[in-house]
Amino acid sequence: MTELLVKNACVIDPIRGINGDIMDIAIRDGRIVESVSDRAEVIDAHRCLTLPGGIDSHTHVCGTKVNFGRYMSPEDMRAGRTQRRGKMHVTSGYYVPTTFGNSYRYSAMGYTTLLEGAMAPLEARHTHEEFTATPHQDMLANTLFDGNWAVMDAVREKNIKKAAAIVGWTLNAVKGYAIKLTNPGGTEAWGWGEDVTSIHEMVPHFDVTPAEIITTMIQANELLKLPHSVHLHCNNLGKPGNYQTTLDTFDLVPDVNPNRQTLYATHVQFHAYGGGTWRNICSKAEEITRSVNSKPQIVMDMGQIMFCRTMTMTADGPMEFNLHCLHHNKWSNHDVELETGSGIIPVTYSKKSAVNCIMWAIGLELALLTKSPWQCLLETDNPNGAPFVKYPEVIGLLMSKRYRDEECATLHADTEGRTSLCALEREMDWHDIAVMTRAGQAKALGIINQGKGHLGIGAEADIAIYPIRTDSVDPAREYRKVVEGFQKTRFTIKRGRVVSRDGEIIVDGANATFWVNAKVPEDLRMENDPEFIKRFEQFYTVRMSNYPVQDVYLPRGRCIETEAFT
């Protein structure tokens, strides 16, 4: 039995409605309890800001695509090198760090749970191998279904149950957590070098539209009773004028789940562009947030960009090629048979570029114009918009109008006319930030019941104690203190153990991987469907028996079972 007592913590725990109370937190064997014995180890938080461990609900840190980003970037690897030290392994890389680099840096910032944004089912084993080597965060994997042939066949046949059964079988086979749709239909079209340009355009050879894929998958998701909603990267990412596609997509979404959103729309900054060309691109954040403010069934995340050199990586192959034709730097692409695609290119976001400045402003506008912080979560689509180590700066910008004004003064002159950021007075408070960086994520991902995102009795003792005194820091004026404070916790506690102190990792990690087993009725299971098996063996290049990820790849797997179809 191990016990830990955190004393004098200034706790903000939005899920439990606690906002800045000074209290003690008792921990036994990794969970939060009423009280501990006097033998417990004691940490004095000295009234510092204490939050549930940070949760990133959309990041790219593990798997084929991320590793390819590393593989092709020795120039980045030398940008962030640290030596082996104590319990810490060597790390390399700044925008695509090694797995240990990701894990240590997230931990130093108080993050204890991560959702990998895109896992191709065929390559799931790779993602899980890297999860094991990202030891300080619990991991969940978004599983890609955007170009899944079997799913598209079911959509065409308007067979929702079958679509659900395919998803259920796949999630179970690859130990995935949620349904991810990346440019639905577009990744299949990219198999021919084409794309789909609206949600009502037919996918070549499959006679389905993105809209049909999205609505069917939303229904299948609820039929399977998955903890998370459909997680969508909308069509037409990064194209001027794409906001209309985004609005059309939002209009498809019913409000069907009382516990959470029905659709999670990711990195919406990249989907909120007006205009028709790169010359007249402008912000449509107002239109997007007007829609979201009237639709509680939608939660989005920012997709904030920051000015730096980074790497874009997404399953959206056609988008990456278009971007490559603009940048003329290196381009990688990796299409996955019968399932999805992916593309990777390095980019530099510069204040000299009007487009980049407008993108930067749109992300912030989305957050500031969304009334409820539970509906617009903070992330950069790491590393697409910026590496996650930039989160503290994003927090600073959201909390301080002065910081925003100072930055705006250094931007390209066109920014002001084509965005409304400068006019926005809103300054977020500590509670808003706590929602946008952990509580909102826990609710959106459906992991509150797993003891994530709050500090109630029975919760997993994932806690971040920041060197910030909320009673003495004025974030609007002293935003630099805010940024610094969120960069490095005093203590990051993971499942009751102090893993990071002042940015130094002090123990070996022992993370868990959450996955979902939706129990589909016997007669609907794909492993009993001869037609599914036949097509699998014919068109995949691995045998169906070699496809599922074996248990050995999840040394600390945590299965969430649902009673589907009931």
């Binding site: 590393r70 760090p97 381009w331 290049t541 070699n546």
Partner: protein, 431 residues
Amino acid sequence: MIVSDVVCPFCGCLCDDLELEVEGDRVVRVQNGCSLAEATFMNDTRLPTPIRRTKTGWEDISYDEAIKETADILKEADRPLLYGWSSTHGEAQSVGVHIAELIGAVIDNTSTVCHGPSILAIQEVGHPGCTLGQVKNRADVIIYWGCNPIEAHPRHMSRYTTFATGFFVPEAQRERTVIVVDTRRNDTTNIADEFLQVEPGGDYAVLSALRAIVRGKESVIPKKVAGIAKEQLIRVAGICKNAKFGAIFFGLGLTMSRGKYKNVRNAIELTDELNRHTKFVISPMRGHGNVYGSNEVFTWMTGYPFAVDFARGIAFYNPGETTAVDILRRGECDAALIVASDPGANFPRLAAAHLAKIPTVIIDPHVNATTALSRIHIPCTAAGIDAAGTAYRMDGVPIRLKKVIERGYPDDAELLKKIYDRLNGGGWDHD
């Protein structure tokens, strides 16, 4: 006993549809596999026990003794080299990287003498590729450039390309055009619809010419480029541009001939150019069963796919400087640990000779040329035969190798963990 859907660990195709008949600790029949697979499973003669070189011959030693001496050798070294890794599973590769980091070693894998140049090229221009099923189901134009799949990857054409039935190419042989580029005629060139016989060392010029033609600049091109007539180049460029889905596979003919990675880069840039007209992908024909896995494991752990130098505590990478052949050629390293490979046979003479001058330990199931250059040889399981583990196919698809028999050997990952423990003075703690 019959075991089905077995994965062959020999080459980068990692065919996973083999059926094996097993009797006791022996495989007695292999179905669906090529002749290389058959030899891999059926002619599997092992070194029975660890051996150590004496002044005049060889003596048997215990595993404990062998492990202790290996750890002592590595501990003493000022510039140890850990080399090989491509014929074992990812689990062993990962322990190898941990050892290298712990002792400040250089760690390199066999891509250094096969597709290392392809990696250098990818680091300059990226890699438009795909999984092999994309090619199987869609490709109507297949190009084999500087590779000979019939000899090196015997089932590549029947499983993934020329002869494979695909969803959008139900009559594969009729519907696919096959182009082969090589310096000499061989069995692969004989099945080509177009054979471009390029002069040795002329690949780069041919690729540049094709790029220019695809861009509409054919007027610049001379009548003949590296032995190939301009008319044929124009014809081939036309076939590529008119393809619905084209796939280039390339081999050591590009990576080993003069210019090395620049040849590969040029092929990738041709692929890039063709994507402005249609869909085109390119893929290296990776050799050893899990050589791509060694690149993957090295990359997520160190940031670099091969040739990683931990001498200064951080990871440093610079092929040409930190690559195994160069470290040996310059006589830099003062100890070597070879795992699952045979540099004695595969490295140029001068590089191999240095292994005999320093204390070298090899961990490998089989006696090979490197055995003769070593001080100690420790036998172990062979991944995919008597050990399970992860391997990455040439296209990045991770596949679990199966354990089909038990022969009583220790897994190399376990041997390496014991060596790590001795060096670290503590328990293995990285799972």
